[in-house]
Assembly symmetry: C2
Homo-oligomer: 272 residues x 2
């Protein structure tokens, strides 16, 4: 398995972005802990110097396996399922604007909270139809650049749209694009999936990215999830992607990232 | 173990009140499924005919081990930690008004969401101080009637006050009343506790009531919690109380309650 950890490129409200703040020093810390990659949470690619970012991650020998986009929802309210068509259009254009960046890093574009949640006065079926339309348009644009999109099922308390892997599978059918798949996250799966390993098997070939956090959203090893069994199930699907730590920076980001690396590396099935 | 299930005495918004609606027919169903008790969610004891309720539960051979009070928060906004002192006073008086009812049934009074959550402009320490004061006053009133109060640690998404059993233990110290303890709920513990069985042992003599729901809040057996291990840990503390089903009515209340009874009774350590 290849391991990465989430870093926000700007101060973020989202509590589970493990590292926040100064980019250069955080990249140095992450590399020093033995991670091979860094997942970047980017609100707007417009404010990113792509060449500079490429250079600084390379200088630390870090790959960028995935780009998180949820800050555009959290801080600007952009969403695929807002009743206002202007907001939906902005959300779609924002995701499209990540494509050159994703193409450069060979990174997956994550569709997390930017999918939105069903707002008052909007029918569930209408929200789902907008979601499918938006994903089809974004996948179409991404295809020619060989870029893939991964939607993350998120637990019931954070969204009312796509909580479980089985809902995610249904969505894959509806979107019907080969470059559309799922990002599975163990914290959300602990709440939503009847059996985590069975859900991983259910998604097999469409797992495009994978997040680890323990049952309490602390780093792996600090809760009661069985990562040996979970990563074994993931490995058995033939997964060639990354295992990316997205957990609370508790007791602090450094300690959490170090504990996660130690805990996951000691699992017998996944010695490098 | 003695088994009960949650019934709301009136239509309730709270999704996890397993049974809702007509009292008489629901009690008949619950008794027919082999339950020995029914946990009642009551918004306001004033609208309850105590003699009538006593009679109808007895006629179905059902005990009432606990009374849920959260609807006063959900539907009237009453809370121990509201910045408005009038609201806090109403919440305290509402809980006190449950004492005669609890005394009659030898039931525990549950302090769930009526504790409130830390509202904007209120310091966490202030909210906690109000909570301790309210609990001390209610426990003092309940003591002479031999009535006990049990506060339920509730996961981070539903409240910002007392999420975990360790926070619950600290609260017990602060309240300092022998008739104050905890209600542990397996659904919340799955999210908040590093190790569920260890948390049960931590609370040992102060577990006054116990809720079961599986990891996805469906009935036990429909998620990934190990109820054999969990109930064994509970049993080992010397727990003499009830195991009460509070789960989503999915696919419907009858089916969920039947599945829960079947699943829990087959656990080898707890044959009656």
């Amino acid at each position: 398995m290849k391991y990465s950890v989430v870093l926000s490129t700007q101060p973020a409200q989202f509590q589970a972005a493990t590292f926040k703040g100064d980019l250069e020093s955080n990249l140095a810390s992450i590399a020093a802990l033995g991670y091979q990659g860094v997942e970047l949470a980017i609100r707007d690619p417009k404010i990113i110097n792509l060449d500079g970012l490429d250079q600084v991650t390379r200088s630390h020998n870090l790959r960028v396996p995935a780009i998180g986009t949820g800050q555009a929802w959290g801080e600007e309210g952009l969403s695929f399922t807002d009743p206002d068509p202007t907001v939906r259009r902005q959300a779609i254009e924002r995701i499209k604007s990540h494509i050159p960046l994703a193409q450069r890093f060979n990174a997956v574009i994550i569709i997390g909270l930017i999918r939105g949640l069903v707002k008052k006065g909007v029918e569930q079926a209408q929200a789902e139809a907008w979601l499918v339309d938006a994903l089809q348009e974004c996948c179409q644009s991404a295809r020619s650049e060989n870029v893939r999109l991964a939607l993350e099922p998120i637990n019931r308390y954070e969204t009312t749209l796509i909580n479980s892997t089985s809902q995610g599978r249904d969505l894959i059918e509806k979107v019907g694009a080969a470059n559309f798949g799922l990002l599975l996250d163990t914290f959300h799966m602990n709440i939503e999936e009847p059996q985590i390993e069975a859900s991983i098997r259910l998604c097999a070939d469409r797992i495009f990215h994978f997040h680890v956090a323990d049952s309490n959203r602390w780093s792996p090893g600090m809760g009661h999830l069985d990562f040996q069994s979970i990563l074994q199930a993931l490995h058995a699907t033939g997964y060639q992607g990354w295992v990316s730590g997205e957990f609370l920076p508790l007791p602090d980001a450094q300690t959490a990232a170090r504990r996660s690396a130690t805990h996951l590396r000691q699992l017998s099935a996944f010695k490098n």
